[in-house]
């Protein structure tokens, strides 16, 4: 009888025991005494077999209690709301950062190579080292390099601070991203003194350039220096050392 407190169960057992003893004391044989108690025992068993009733009763009792204590109810609801909100926010971040795969084709074939110190601390890879690795590469289909950076976009109504990456021409091929409009970077544009070309995301193209297809090829100013918008891709890619096996 899970819906009753322990002392009620104890009293019921004691009652049946008292009744049995009384019957026996009055000369009733064991079997007959058990027979007379069978009705009570059956009823108690059926009480045990009604978990749904018990749950309904609990729910009704909980609702009545909550209605009687509006202050407590408000505190409970607020606590639950904050708890659920916090859990949802944390899960959203974990889902986006850890659980959901990157939106690249053949993600299992993309690998990140990094350089670390003896103590295991990550460090930037020198351009010369990258060139060495790329020239000696025999296992990867494409081999690119990039570094995350923040740039200031000016020349419009309002200056805008953007997250971007400095990337080599092979990065787009390594992650399998195609330009929606315009062209991708070419190897000659990796060389020092090459024209400054920028690839803009679909989101920036819509928010800053009003989805104007003529924006491709038009000069824009990043960190005070002129660049040429060369292409637009479907979704903004994250930036990492990337290469495709």
């Amino acid at each position: 009888m899970p819906e009753w407190p322990r002392h009620i169960n104890q009293e019921m057992r004691q009652h049946l025991d008292d009744e049995y003893r009384a019957l026996r004391a009055s000369g009733v044989p064991h079997d007959d005494a058990m027979q007379r108690l069978a009705g009570d025992v059956d009823e108690l068993s059926s009480m045990r077999a009604r978990p749904v009733d018990a749950v309904n009763g609990d729910v009704r009792f909980a609702l009545r209690t909550l209605c009687k204590n509006p202050g407590f109810t408000a505190a409970v609801i607020l606590t639950l709301a904050l708890g659920i909100g916090a859990a949802t926010a944390i899960f959203s971040v974990v889902d986006a950062v850890m659980l959901r795969p990157y939106p690249y084709p053949d993600i299992d074939r993309i690998m990140i190579v990094s350089e670390v110190t003896r103590s295991g601390q990550g460090i930037s890879v020198a351009w010369a080292n990258f060139q060495h690795w790329r020239d000696q590469n025999q296992v990867f289909e494409h081999f690119g390099i990039y570094r995350g950076m923040v740039v200031n976009l000016t020349g419009g109504d309002q200056p805008e601070r953007l997250s971007g990456s400095l990337v080599s021409s092979d990065v787009f091929k390594a992650v399998g991203l195609q330009a929606q409009v315009g062209r991708t970077f070419v190897p000659d544009e990796d060389k020092p003194g090459a024209p400054r070309i920028v690839a803009i995301s679909d989101r920036l193209w819509r928010s800053h350039f009003n989805a104007d297809t003529a924006a491709v090829g038009r000069p824009i100013t990043l960190n005070g220096e002129p660049h040429t918008a060369s292409r637009r891709w479907r979704s903004s890619s994250g930036g990492r050392w990337s290469r495709r096996v």
């Binding site: 009753w4 002392h7 009293e11 019921m12 004691q14 009652h15 009570d40 108690l44």
Partner: protein, 117 residues
């Protein structure tokens, strides 16, 4: 059919009077569940009996409402038992229920009794 109707009436009457019976019996002195059950059966001449599965949940409900208060007591030579006594709130409820019940019975008697007379 007649038998079923009679049983239904009996059950409803018992249900309606159960609280009054318990409160009345613990008014004079604290009593335990088994004692209450035996007293009801004896004083009603066997007409009224309570099943274990009905009596103790009823005691629990009455205690929860604050009408009776239960306490485990161990008396010399006896097993430990939970005795129930009437609380001041229970005494008020009992007085009110007694009055209502008396009025009800009198009203029924005035109607049903007059027809039979």
């Amino acid at each position: 059919m007649q038998y079923i109707k009679s049983r239904m009436l009996d059950r409803e009457l018992k249900k309606g009077s159960a609280e009054l019976l318990i409160l009345s019996l613990v008014e004079a002195q604290p009593r335990h569940g088994y004692d209450l059950s035996k007293l009801i059966e004896a004083r009603s001449g066997g007409v009224l009996t309570f099943r274990v599965a009905s009596l103790y949940p009823l005691l629990y409900r009455l205690e929860k409402r604050g009408w009776i208060h239960g306490r485990w007591i161990e008396k010399a030579g006896q097993r430990r038992r939970r005795y129930y006594r009437l609380t001041p709130t229970g005494a008020e409820v009992l007085a009110s229920q007694r009055s209502t019940w008396r009025e009800f019975v009198e009203a029924i008697n005035r109607i049903a009794g007059a027809e039979n007379a």
